[in-house]
Symmetry: C2
Subunit: 100 residues, 2 copies
């Protein structure tokens, strides 16, 4: 069973290339997280939000990572962090081309 | 540029295999959507929610699909549909193994 973690929060910037530069080291660190299959980094300059969509291969690591990442985001000054963990319906997702 | 659409809404069931059976035809239809790269189908029996995470190759199709899908969900009786569209930060996502 695979698990999807969706996280978003208000973010005043930076966006785009500057966002990439600011978070490249963090992305390399996240790549080493136990249980993580992939993360899509999300940002929206118009709505002033950012976040991430994560696929994990087990629920425990998804929950552990969410706790860790929430504390990290709060330490960076972020608040109003919205997070949900879902089961992935794998048969339907594979019909729609998802890379699980 | 790629765009991520995240959608979730209250869902009383079915879940799991019964969910798969109920929505296989819809998944096949969604697979033909213009601009769609993939969709991950999400469900959570504990929180009574379901949704989807979509990757599109252009913003116009993401917005068009969201309008279409919202009307479809409402026609199925769903309400309180929460949706956000984000830019995908491709360099950071590729560091973290995302399949874009």
């Amino acid at each position: 069973m695979k698990y999807l973690l969706q996280v978003d929060f208000p973010h005043q910037g930076p966006f785009g290339e500057e966002f990439t530069g600011a978070f490249t080291d963090l992305a390399k660190d996240i790549a080493e997280e136990s249980g993580l299959i992939w993360k899509v980094w999300t940002e929206n300059e118009a709505t002033k939000e950012a976040g991430g969509i994560y696929l994990f291969d087990n629920l425990q690591d998804a929950q552990r990572y969410l706790d860790k990442h929430t504390k990290r985001l709060e330490s960076f000054g972020y608040g109003n962090i919205r997070a949900k963990i879902f089961n992935v319906n794998e048969p339907l997702s594979l019909i729609d081309g998802a890379k699980l």
